[in-house]
């Protein structure tokens, strides 16, 4: 037999030589026609010993490990976090004189994201844990500043486009500065609430003492207890919020909105709920959440699913979650979305009035809008793709059909 002849000619060094040979290693893992031909020829003309060839290949195949794959959604979320951290660093560099705490903590939190637009219809607050949080009234002050309402009815106005509010055991830091504000604990057993009100055109970041972080988008009100209950953490949201919930064993996190309750079953999530929108939805990126929509049946969402409530009927469908969570890093991404929805969000984000006709409203657009840009630029970029014309009269934007 051929093999026998070949065998006698070659020393047992061959295995070692093959296993040290770059060409051989690449051929085993990524065989090509060319490499196959090369090695068959070497085998045939007897320059290589077949059993050694087989064994060397066998060894390389055997040491291949099953790769731990990173999921698509994890890649996207991680990228977003990186972009946010980079932006943060640039900002910090600009404000280097400021005192700030904390580097990024190395210990991980897993993320559940969730997005929610609330229906215009007002319902009785649903859910088994009625604590009255949804009945807390917004302060009756009209201002374009971000407002922080403390338990003692003290209201702080915060200047600037963005506020960073960090609660810790002792008190509250604002924009990386310690304040002499005390976070009052409830002594009487009756819960006391704080509120953060972010007007259109502004944004904020809020960190609770237990570690949960919220990115709060424009035109949003968040109500939360001065200190969380031991058994359940509960907040109320009217608007859009992205949450990273700090995992605390046996203490669920519930986000209440006008229309429904969302209970976090995993560890973290992201919420958005505008009282005045006609469509609402919840999109889950990873983990699990339970949705309790008042009268309808409870729904548990899986990653990449959206709970959609429009025209009075709930529905669960698969979506590209990316489109729903990019706002945090300063962009809106749309896929075949009506201009109605897009313009409404832009108006809220920039705090500017935008008027448009029903024909314009029903146009559909796809793409990414960079919210760092001036509103006029953003609208112009839409007018390059959609047949619309944009006018600005110094006060409001008017959009008409071409």
């Amino acid at each position: 037999m051929m093999e026998e002849d070949v065998y006698k000619k070659y020393s047992s060094h061959t295995i070692e030589e093959l296993l040290q040979d770059n060409r051989f290693i690449t051929s085993v893992t990524f065989p090509t026609e060319e490499s196959d031909a090369y090695w068959s020829k070497a085998l045939e003309d007897g320059t290589i010993d077949r059993p050694d060839y087989e064994l060397a290949g066998h060894f390389i195949r055997s040491v291949q490990v099953r790769p731990e794959r990173i999921r698509r959604s994890e890649i996207d979320n991680l990228w977003e976090n990186i972009e946010i951290a980079n932006k943060e660093n640039l900002r910090r560099r600009k404000n280097r004189f400021r005192f700030y705490f904390s580097t990024i903590s190395a210990i991980a939190v897993s993320f559940v994201f969730l997005y929610l637009l609330n229906a215009l219809t007002q319902h009785e607050p649903a859910g088994p844990h009625a604590s009255g949080i949804e009945n807390i009234k917004a302060p009756n002050v009209r201002t374009t500043d971000i407002q922080l309402v403390l338990a003692g009815e003290e209201t702080l106005s915060l200047a600037g486009e963005e506020a960073r509010i960090v609660y810790h055991e002792e008190g509250i830091d604002i924009n990386n500065r310690e304040t002499d504000l005390k976070n009052r604990q409830p002594h009487t057993g009756r819960a006391v609430f704080n509120q953060l009100i972010v007007p259109p055109g502004k944004r904020s970041m809020l960190t609770f003492a237990e570690g949960t972080r919220l990115w709060v988008n424009a035109g949003t009100r968040v109500v939360y207890p001065a200190a969380f209950d031991r058994r359940q953490r509960e907040i109320y949201v009217d608007g859009e919020v992205y949450l990273e919930v700090s995992p605390t064993a046996a203490c669920p996190f519930v986000v209440k909105t006008d229309r429904l309750n969302v209970e976090v079953l995993g560890t973290s999530f992201n919420v958005m709920a505008y009282r005045n929108d006609t469509v609402h939805n919840i999109v889950l990126v990873s983990g699990a959440v339970k949705i309790q929509p008042g009268t309808e049946q409870e729904v548990t969402l899986s990653p990449n699913e959206m709970y959609l409530y429009a025209n009075g009927t709930p529905e669960v469908r698969s979506v590209d979650v990316e489109n729903y969570i990019t706002w945090r890093s300063g962009a809106y991404r749309y896929e075949s979305e009506s201009l109605d929805v897009i313009l409404k969000r832009l108006s809220r984000y920039y705090g500017r009035e935008i008027t448009y006709s029903p024909q314009v409203a029903s146009l559909r657009c796809s793409g990414k809008l960079h919210l760092k840009d001036d509103l006029r630029l953003v609208l112009n970029s839409i007018s390059h793709t959609a047949p619309i014309i944009c006018h600005y009269d110094g006060e409001r934007y008017m959009i008409t059909n071409k």
Binding site: E4, T26, F30, P51, I60, V63, V65, I104, A106, A108
Partner: protein
Amino acid sequence: MSAGSPDPVEDKLLWDKFLSGDDKAYAYFYKKYVGDLFSYGMRFTTDRELIKDCIQDVFVKIYSNRSRLNKTDHVKLYLFISLKNTLFNVFQKDKAFYHIDTIEPVFSVEYTIEDCMIAGEMELEREEKMRRILDSLTPRQREVIYYRYVEMMDMKCICELMDMNYQSVQNLIQRAIRKVKTLSPARDKVVLSVNKYTVKFKDKNN
């Protein structure tokens, strides 16, 4: 997904672009290598979130230091080394959380021995032997084998990544190969087993 031959020329070009402030090049490297980096990191721990945090640290750091970074013609290696260092720093700080008795995180792999198509006794025995050999490898040997045969890095890269000189790395590999050589079939039995063996691979490749 150990993305075959990383295109060193393109990487080098884009790395220069990144150093001079091109964000697209930055995003390119993230997209290209995040999968490999993740798989690599998971060799040291089972904590996905920790690896993601470390990858984030690596990318945030190169972004904020980019004006001070050196040119490199092997971006993948650079990222692998950064990830390893970041990870080891965490381990160092949080020893209690990870391996209490070792300072360095242990490199561990679960090999995917070809368990399909094992037909005869002979193959079964051989697989069993291969498995035993792989099990007997030391963590260092496993690590070097991973770089050489899974990531397909050349010796120079491996030396840098393991922070060892050429001869020491060579010794690690040779000791592993020597174990494999013991699997080389005894001469008189060869013909039969080899024939079967050949058939097996042909089947697999088709």
